[in-house]
Amino acid sequence: MVLVETRALVKKFGAFTAVDGISFSVDRGEVVGFLGPNGAGKSTTMKIIAGFLEPTSGSAFIAGHDSRADSIAARRRLGYLPEGAPAYPDMTVASFLEFVAAMRGLSKPVARERLAELVERIDLAEVWNRRMDALSKGFKRRVGIAQALVHDPDVLILDEPTDGLDPNQKHEMRELIRTLAPNKAIVVSTHILEEVEAICTRAIIIARGRMLADSTPAELLARAPARDPSQTQIVRTTPLEDAFRHITLEQAGS
């Protein structure tokens, strides 16, 4: 069942085209890794899917609802972690998550149950009553994830969910995404290629707003150029990195 679909998304900021004809769809059970160099248009695409930005042309659908024409219904099915995991600094974790739950129309008892479950699952108990401007990066990001999961949405759009996390927390975040995966359609953007192998069923590479690849991590690996054994690497790279560099630098050169 297709839960996320974009059709020929184009986003222009003035004369600059940030997103240039992005089309893909994500089924339930899939975890799609969104890859690309800085400024590729990943966040912009995610903002359009989430309905925060309107595309210049093209359209995005969440569970069949047009993110523009039918935005409220689309947003009900969506959990979104914006880039940088923004949060209200003056609120406590508890009051913030309760606020989001209430805004999403959850009744008090349902919200309480749901939040209790999330506290457990995302390990928020120790910061529950702390103000969010006093949180470490890792906890801030976890609160951002909790916020996106409050209503148990079908679709998760997570913009760099593991950015700034220490290795242990990265691992936990990946485990969380893995456990959520079977029942949802998940799109995660990341700069960490090993993450793609660890959690993604599919990888989409974009650069300069264009889609360069949409395939399984294994297929992507196959696109890695053969190494020249006579050349010693100053910095060791993984095969997936080779593939990424090959695909994205090839476009930059052309």
Binding site: A50, G51, F52, R75, R76, G84, P86, V100, M103
Partner: protein, 244 residues
């Protein structure tokens, strides 16, 4: 509606999350009292009423209301929380109304804290308390208009300072609109309708009618319509920024 109230609650609590609220209330009271006693010769007038107090409100609000309203949207845009807010399954007007209401109630609180003045004039003499009550309500309504303008401007930028300046400039136009100075400058070249329209936009003119205790209905309608219009415009601004 309950969504707007949730936004209101969060936003209103936000005013008190920092010492800013206390500072603001103190400044408001100090300036209001200062203007009343020193600039309007409250005691020398030998009159037991609060017209000297209300006289300065348009000028007081011109600066203080943008100070309350500037953060409403600009801060959310700066911190990125606007992305959370605008991707919730709620109508933009619910957000706009809830935020404005929080600022308005906060302004109402500041105004309510000047009640000792009201008590004082009742101790000193026997003022027309009906007019004073109407003046308080009119003043609060005018504050609401300033705030609706400030909120709307705040939605245009992520820079609170710019939001403040923009709101003061627009507020200034509304305050000055009724002055002969302004009207005289417009009259030679603009058709009469335009001159009258500008005069009809005057905050001071409408507010004075309320504090004088005459012709209150048109003034109330004016301020309410302006608030509704500015909030409507606020929603349009949010919409337009999505497509930007």
């Amino acid at each position: 509606m309950s969504t707007a109230l949730l936004v209101f609650r969060r936003e209103f609590a936000g005013y008190f999350a920092t010492p800013l609220a206390a500072v603001f209330l103190a400044v408001f009271l100090a300036v209001a009292a200062g203007m009343t006693f020193f600039m309007a010769n409250f005691f020398d007038r030998g009159q037991a009423d609060l017209s000297a107090f209300f006289l300065w409100h348009p000028w007081l609000y011109l600066v203080l209301m943008p100070a309350i309203g500037m953060r409403l949207w600009a801060e959310e845009r700066r911190s990125g929380t606007i992305e959370l807010l605008m991707t919730l399954p709620v109508q933009p007007w619910q957000l706009v109304f809830g935020k404005w209401l929080a600022a308005w109630v906060f302004a109402g609180l500041a105004l309510a804290l000047t009640a000792p003045l009201w008590i004082t004039v009742n101790v000193l003499g026997s003022p027309d308390n009906g007019v004073i009550l109407a003046s308080y309500l009119g003043s609060w309504l005018m504050a609401g208009a300033f705030l609706a303008i400030s909120a709307c401007v705040s939605a245009l930028t992520k820079n609170q300072v710019l939001a403040f300046i923009g709101a003061v400039v627009i507020g200034f136009l509304f305050v000055m609109a009724g002055f002969d100075l302004v009207l005289a400058a417009v009259r030679p070249w603009a058709p009469d309708v335009v001159v009258q329209a500008i005069a009809a936009m005057s905050f001071i003119g409408h507010f004075q009618r309320i504090t004088d205790g005459v012709l209150e209905a048109p003034a109330i309608i004016f301020f309410v319509s302006l608030i509704v219009f500015a909030l409507w415009l606020n929603v349009q601004v949010l919409d337009a920024r999505k497509a930007a």
